[in-house]
Symmetry: C2
Subunit: 406 residues, 2 copies
């Protein structure tokens, strides 16, 4: 079994990089803070005897040799980047539990037949550079390298530029090499495990996602002398669509999620009728057909609202990540590992996207969930219990050992 205290201490130490007053973390992808986090991870891995490789998307692989080092590795991992008001666990737990598995094998002098790697995937959150899971997507061949490197933040800085700036534009090709298996440990980020008092979530599937960018353009004008009947107020249009997005989510219960998370109003001045509004939509559902129906409903409403208000509309679906069924054998390894330790567990569908979703296209993959406090994440208050994190890490260790030695 793994070292619960060491895992916790490493999480806390990593959480200081970009740590916020409220106890959360703000460590956006490819910022100076992300570089500091990466440097710390690399140092720890080297201290654990690993060799380090970095690819052109900045993905990091820390390798512990196997007795037959020509075999494809069993890989663990997740991401180090956070939301602007994120927590200490989302992603980081998956990275540091990979490291903890390696440290524990070292402690106990256990060798594996296949090599083992702990990995860090660049820009999983998609908060600074949309979409999410860009770099694991390039690894899996879902996106090409040029697409990945050209993703830009709201200031126009690209991932390629920022990777070079922080010194993580590595030499290795992205992907094109086999994994024996891939496992990602993660906090659930939802309330189910906690509500049902289960310690381990055996992740069988991940729901599908569609992300949109919508720009409504009307006409800026003075809030005082411009009659209501002559206005083309882009924000009124956006407000109706934000409410409509919420209604589409409600209409597709259970399981649908529908969120507008980002809004930019131009010129954003109190006494100016907004001339332009940019906003995003995030739709999710485990069933691809329901998700298509939500897409259809949004398109119809967006056309209607923009038409009624005389607004021009740019409507773009910028990302579709279909529902993901994880590998049955890997899922079984996770379930059996949980059982072997006597941990309470249940099968669960991931509500969030994860690097594992894309890696599952090129390698047998599954995930291990542990509960988080009140199901809250993407929030500085995100929290998890040291015992649960250690339990998930034990499951990871066991599943990895089984795969690496078979």
């Amino acid at each position: 079994t793994v070292n619960q205290q060491r895992l916790w201490d490493s999480l806390m130490q990593m959480g200081e990089i970009g740590g916020t007053e409220k106890g959360g973390v703000c460590r956006l992808a490819l910022t100076d803070l992300d570089k500091q986090g990466r440097d710390l991870f690399v140092r720890w891995c080297k201290e654990a005897g690993c060799s380090i490789r970095i690819d052109k998307m900045g993905n990091i692989f820390a390798r512990r040799a196997g007795t037959d080092d020509s075999l494809p590795p069993v890989v663990m991992g997740s991401h180090l980047d956070t939301q602007p008001t994120g927590g200490k666990f989302d992603g980081i737990y998956g990275v540091l539990s990979g490291l903890e598995v390696i440290r524990s094998l070292n402690d106990q002098g256990i060798e594996t037949r296949a090599p083992i790697e702990a990995s860090v995937w660049t820009n999983e959150e998609g908060s600074r550079f949309p979409p999410a899971m860009v770099a694991s997507g390039v690894f899996a061949g879902v996106f090409d390298l040029e697409y990945g490197l050209s993703r830009a933040d709201l200031d126009g800085k690209t991932m390629g530029e920022e990777l070079a700036r922080i010194g993580y534009a590595g030499p290795d090709d992205v992907g094109g090499r086999p994994f024996k298996a891939f496992f990602e440990a993660h906090i659930e980020q939802g309330p189910i495990l906690e509500d049902e008092d289960k310690q381990i979530g055996v992740v069988t599937d991940a729901q599908g996602q569609r992300w949109y960018e919508i720009t409504l353009t009307g006409q800026e004008s003075h809030a005082g002398p411009t009659p209501m009947t002559r206005r083309r107020d882009a924000l009124v249009g956006a407000a109706r669509l934000i409410d409509a997005v919420n209604r589409i989510g409600m209409d597709n219960q259970p399981n649908a999620c529908a969120t507008v998370g980002l809004v930019q109003v131009f010129p954003n001045s109190r006494n100016v009728i907004p001339g332009q509004v940019f906003f995003t939509v995030d739709f999710r559902h485990p069933d691809a057909d329901v998700l298509s129906g939500m897409d259809q409903a949004l398109r119809e409403l967006a056309d209607r609202v923009s038409g009624e208000l005389g607004l021009e509309m740019k409507f773009e679906q910028i990302w579709y990540s279909p529902p993901v069924p994880f590998d049955t054998a890997c899922v079984n390894s996770v379930r059996q590992a949980a059982e072997s330790f006597g941990y309470s567990h249940r099968d669960i569908v991931s509500g969030a996207g994860h690097d594992a979703c894309y890696i599952s296209r090129v390698a047998p993959t599954s995930m291990v969930f542990v509960p988080c406090e009140n199901g809250i994440s993407h929030n500085e208050a995100e929290n998890a219990k040291a015992e649960d994190l250690a339990a998930g890490c034990n499951v990871l260790l066991q599943a990895v050992l089984e795969r690496a030695n078979d």
Copy 2:
């Protein structure tokens, strides 16, 4: 009569300071650009033989002596600050038409009994530092000096700090001295004069305004694994209230205006349910009772929507500017001046707030409007005709002469 070309050239030259690619102006109050604009105005006034005084709110008074310089001055003026995407005329025309009146009197060697002043009022727009017309409000005793100097922008910088920084925290007390009369020339900023093909608007009244700041607080959480039914999405609440504000405006036609111009979403990330939204409301109506009814409707809806969604709400009316009736004698001077030149004209109620609204509390005051293209202002496309601007300036000259010599 005034020099049309000189007035136009001065407007164009001032418009270069903060000039935008689209032909507008971005010269926010108390920025370096505002300082440049002020410096240019001061230089021009000195060249026209005026003496300059600056008060503690940064208001500038350029004085042309009268034959009886002990009399209170007749004052003209408006503001040099603009909206973030503003135009070359809103405010600036009122300042530079004051200067043009003085230049024309100089050209023609005309002396006046009372002195004449061209004035610049600090931060009329209220875009950077809410509310609008802060410095003329302090001059008129509506706000005290401390309130004025402590108004802060969204970054927390105060007017007092920024006045000192750009060197316009003058020595003079703010207000407390009589004006014989105050006249403000301005573009209409609405469509009425253009629609009815009138060259001069004789401004009899200005409508009332109420400005609000509303903060809704829910709970940030992940857009994927957080069930719709467990969300407290601050943006859904804001969207419903933005739509409600628009409806309140529509329900109080004719004449009501209702606008949400500014929205800030926290943390503003695509896959995070917004935990907090700050937005502003701008309500206007010429009738104080109708405006109170709109206030009542907003408060009820805000309570209902925030309650339904489980959101905390901070609701604050930050500004009330009651409807303003201008001075009958000054209004008559403007109407007679328009008639004496044979300009087409009509009486009009100002939809915007103006420095004249506050000055009217301490001096006989009225305004001269001229048409602007498509009634558009608070927009880089703001435009006006040189002939109309000169016509308004002629009316100003005549009204000022009448008052200064009586």
